[in-house]
């Protein structure tokens, strides 16, 4: 199984640990990722929020580049995934737009991409039994709050799961042996791209989410998006919380369960340290 790989700006530097763990886990599971040479920023929220042309041009350019590598594209960042999928959906359904966009990006995208999040790849392309066979270190005793955020589940054309009660991540965590909590903040917004721009948003939004996870006695929060990770991880110091909660990429948890080396997953890059908790649970 081979995918074109679009890491996106966040995974490039800021959240390189997500990049590392994604590559490691997928390699372990037999999925080959081929990074798209010369990929661009997808424009993130900034583009569609402020410029109608860039909204579709940037994702389209990347899609055009990607399909030259492979029609199947793996996108781990929820924000990038959202942009690429939304644009792709528009292009697939609007020939005139496709023509226009192709002209402006001086490329020829045909609307033939299949864009997937690694979570989908793991759950839909691989057999459950094969996956469970490979688990060497089940996440027993670990209580995980699965957090999906906005962009993985909205809108329908870009979503990877149900908008109100997604369960993909929960299913994976359960498969790995972890207990997942039922909570009301799975799909609440954490502040998205406002990390730097408007800290006030993050403190308020992420704070509520963290609080509910703490209330539900979660050991950690599993995420599948670098933005969510940063928002939940970065400012815990400045929030009014009973305790700090480690935020872990699902790929990191999966990596641990698959027996990958702790250090190779670069978990220590997180601001809120997770090692102590993981040691306690016997996962390191």
């Amino acid at each position: 199984m081979e995918y074109a790989y679009y890491p996106g700006c966040s995974l490039h530097v800021m959240s390189s640990e997500y990049d590392v763990s994604t590559r490691a886990v997928l390699a372990r599971l037999g999925v080959t990722l081929r990074e798209i040479p010369d990929w661009f920023c997808c424009g993130a929220s900034s583009a569609h929020m402020t410029d109608a042309v860039l909204t579709d041009a940037l994702p389209a350019k990347n899609l055009a580049l990607a399909v030259k590598v492979n029609q199947r594209i793996a996108v781990p960042c929820a924000a990038c995934l959202h942009r690429l999928k939304k644009t792709d959906h528009k292009l697939k359904n609007d020939d005139a737009l496709l023509k226009n966009v192709n002209e402006s990006i001086k490329d020829n995208y045909q609307g033939n991409a299949q864009i997937k999040h690694p979570l989908e790849i793991i759950q839909d392309d691989l057999k459950t039994e094969e996956l469970s066979e490979k688990i060497t270190r089940p996440l027993n005793n670990l209580k995980v709050a699965c957090y999906y955020g906005c962009l993985l589940v909205r809108p329908a054309e870009a979503a990877i799961d149900d908008a109100e009660n997604p369960e993909r991540l929960d299913r994976l965590m359960n498969l790995l042996g972890a207990e997942t909590i039922n909570w009301g903040f799975k799909v609440e917004c954490c502040g998205a791209g406002m990390t730097l721009a408007h800290k006030e948003s993050i403190i308020g939004l992420a704070g509520r989410i963290l609080n509910d996870a703490i209330l539900n006695e979660a050991d950690c929060i599993a995420v599948a998006c670098p933005m969510c990770h940063t928002n939940l991880d970065l400012y815990q110091d400045q929030m009014d919380l009973k305790r700090k909660v480690p935020i872990l990429y699902f790929t990191e948890l999966l990596g641990l369960a698959l027996g990958l080396d702790y250090n190779s997953l670069e978990i220590d890059k997180h601001i809120v340290p997770a090692k102590g908790m993981l040691l306690e649970k016997g996962l390191v």
Binding site: E164, N165, N182, W183, G184, L215
Partner: protein
């Protein structure tokens, strides 16, 4: 020798405001066989009709074309009009220059041009019209009532009161319908059972009313005046004649199943009656759960039944009833709120539907009338009601307003307060629709006398936190977000047609709207009739309705039927097919194709004594669809009023 008169209506300014009616009338005079034309302000009015009558007499007209509104509105009016001057009603045609022209086109010249063309079309057709003789159909003076809810019961009683027989077919083991599930009823707050039970008893004891409970319609054939109904009486396993309704069997039965009647709020036994006042008060065995019927062991109920009424060998039975008219009174279902993920999608036990709430507060309900939380059995102190769940929502539900939820929610806040004096009720609403006698007053009372807090805004999300349901909504009047920790949340779910409404409609040839509510023949002028002759509507199967409306409609439908039954013969339009036997080649094609099985083959002998088979149409079965015509290879079938000649004549004017 066709001599046609053309009558162009102004319809006030409805037509004349757009279409130059004088030009239309003038142009009409040039059309083939048109000898007279005129215009008038309101052709359908008395003086308008006089204009027509006079013209027919003075000009010796033998057919007329009225260019006015749609034939569906006044076709009959003008038919009747010319009948009074001795012309066959079938020698008239209408050109719809209002609905199909002046109202839908903007440019006056275009509209006038089109009106002329429409008149041309109609004059061409009318030329080929034939003076048909109406068919007289004998009327079987018994009515079938499908559905034994309050609407069905009321209409059966009214029909019986007029001295005719009514046959109720109810799919559940007991009649009563939704009303039997309710506690008290708005706007008077009288107890549902207290007003329903006497009716149920009455209908059970009335010798003119036959109840087939636990039965389904299999098939209906025939048409107005003489329908033949096949009813499947499901095996009840308890003899209706022998059972005394003592209830011992139910008591002793070891199997517990979720109760449908109590909406899964409690359990019932494998042998049970849905509720204590059931009519007939005879239990049924649920064959999917009865141990004897599934595993062959147990047999307790048979052993304990003193009357010897339990019979495990019981079989489904087909009954044939002959009736002259049918009332559909199948009521409604409730929208399943599972679609609303943001309201928990059915995951939160303390989020219930309005109807479940009715069962909760009902003294004979699963909790004996105590309002308790399903999660922990505690008495709620804060109850949030959310209106319009599934209503007025094209995205997840239905676009229409369910009409009664505003009212029953208000009722439920009152009842909640009566049951739990220190309860606080909140109601999230978008608009309050309380149009009815004493309805607005009732809602106001809920707010003033019972302290229900009404918040204008839709709830965005519910989630569980620390044993409570957090209700995240908007008070649009305040312009602020509100978050209410509730102990119990009640969703006023939309009223939707019965799940099987569509299948039933297709079986009996009822027309229905996009939601599967049954269509009235005309929204204002024929609200209780269906387009299919002989079928009437009552209650919530036509649209969301409360009890007073359902009962009013039921009585209206009954009155219509009594009117029909007051005659020995029903005179109907002879729009039926006929075969020109001389050219029929007996190929059988038409026999196979007729959806109403109206065509059969007969042997004819010609003068030389040679035998051959020819098709014949049974005019009381033929509905006049015309499907057989294009299929006849020798084109020897004709359909009255829609003859090939007539349609050709229209097409030829294009």
């Amino acid at each position: 020798m066709p001599r046609t008169g053309v009558f162009v209506c102004h319809c006030g300014s409805n037509i004349a405001g757009k279409v130059d009616v004088e030009t239309v009338a003038a142009k009409a005079l040039n059309f083939d066989r048109v000898v007279f034309s005129t215009t008038y302000k309101y052709m359908c009015s008395q003086p308008g009709q006089e204009v027509i009558k006079k013209a027919v007499r003075d000009n010796n007209l033998d057919r007329i074309v009225v260019a006015a509104c749609t034939p569906n509105l006044h076709g009959k009016t003008f038919q009747r009009c010319i009948k009074t001057v001795g012309l066959s009603p079938y020698l008239s045609e209408m050109a719809s220059i209002r609905e199909h022209c002046s109202w839908v086109h903007t440019d006056p010249d275009e509209a006038t041009g089109k009106a002329i063309e429409l008149v041309r079309l109609a004059t061409a057709k009318v030329r080929k019209n034939v003076a048909l003789l109406p068919l007289n159909i004998p009327v079987t003076r018994r009515a079938l009532v499908i559905g034994g809810g309050i609407a069905g019961i009321q209409s059966a009683l009214d029909i019986a009161a007029a001295g005719f027989e009514a046959v109720i077919v109810e799919k559940e083991p007991s009649v009563g319908g939704r009303m039997a599930q309710l506690d008290k009823t708005f706007p008077t707050l009288d107890c549902s059972a207290c007003i329903l039970a006497p009716r149920m008893v009455e209908v059970a004891t009335n010798e003119k009313v036959i109840i087939h409970s636990y039965s389904k319609i299999e098939k209906i054939t025939g048409s107005v005046g003489s329908f033949e109904v096949q009813i499947k009486k499901k095996a009840r396993y308890v003899d209706l004649g022998k059972c005394t309704g003592c209830g011992t069997c139910t008591e002793k039965c070891p199997v517990k199943v979720d109760s449908e009647f109590n909406l899964r709020l409690s359990t019932r036994k494998a042998i049970s009656t849905p509720f204590p006042q059931a009519v007939p008060n005879v239990p049924v065995i649920d064959p999917h759960h009865c141990r004897y019927l599934t595993l062959g062991k147990c047999g307790v109920c048979q052993k304990v039944c003193q009357a010897g009424a339990v019979n495990y060998e019981d079989k489904d039975e087909i009954i044939i009833e002959k009736v002259g008219a049918i009332i559909a009174a199948t009521g409604y279902d409730l929208f399943d709120p599972k679609k609303y993920g943001e309201y928990g999608g059915g995951r939160y036990r303390d989020v219930i539907t309005g109807l479940q709430f009715e069962r909760l507060i009902n003294a004979s309900g699963p909790t004996g009338g105590e309002i308790t939380r399903l999660s922990d059995g505690k008495t709620p102190k804060t109850i949030v009601f959310i209106q319009c769940v599934g209503s007025r929502d094209e995205q997840k539900g239905k676009p229409y307003c369910s009409k009664i939820c505003c009212m029953y929610t208000a009722k439920q806040t009152i009842l909640a307060k009566e049951h739990i004096p220190d309860v606080q009720c909140y109601v999230f609403y978008i608009d309050i629709r309380a149009g009815g006698k004493n309805y607005e007053e009732f809602v106001k009372r809920a707010q003033t006398d019972y302290g229900a807090v009404y918040i204008r805004g839709r709830v965005s999300k519910l989630y569980e936190q620390e044993g409570q349901i957090m209700v995240k909504g908007m008070d649009t009047l305040l312009g602020e977000e509100v978050e209410i920790p509730a102990d119990l949340v009640v969703l006023a779910t939309a009223i939707v047609p019965r799940r099987e409404a569509r299948t039933l409609a297709q079986k009996i040839g009822l027309s229905y709207d996009q939601h599967a509510f049954y269509n009235e023949a005309h929204p204002k002028m024929a609200p209780v009739e269906n387009l299919t002759l002989g079928i009437y509507l009552a209650g919530a199967c036509q649209a969301p309705k409360d009890i007073p409306d359902s009962v009013a409609m039921a009585s209206a439908a009954a009155a219509k039927i009594c009117g029909l039954f007051s005659r020995d013969f029903l005179s109907i339009d002879p729009i039926v097919a006929s075969v020109a036997e001389t050219c029929c080649v007996g190929c059988n094609t038409c026999v196979a194709i007729c959806p109403f099985k109206a065509i059969s083959m007969e042997i004819r002998k010609d003068r030389t004594g040679q035998e051959r088979q020819v098709a014949t149409v049974n005019t009381s079965l033929c509905q006049g669809c015309g499907t057989c015509l294009p299929n006849c290879r020798s084109r020897c079938i004709s359909l009255n009023n829609w003859t090939t000649d007539q349609l050709y004549a229209e097409v030829m004017t294009i």
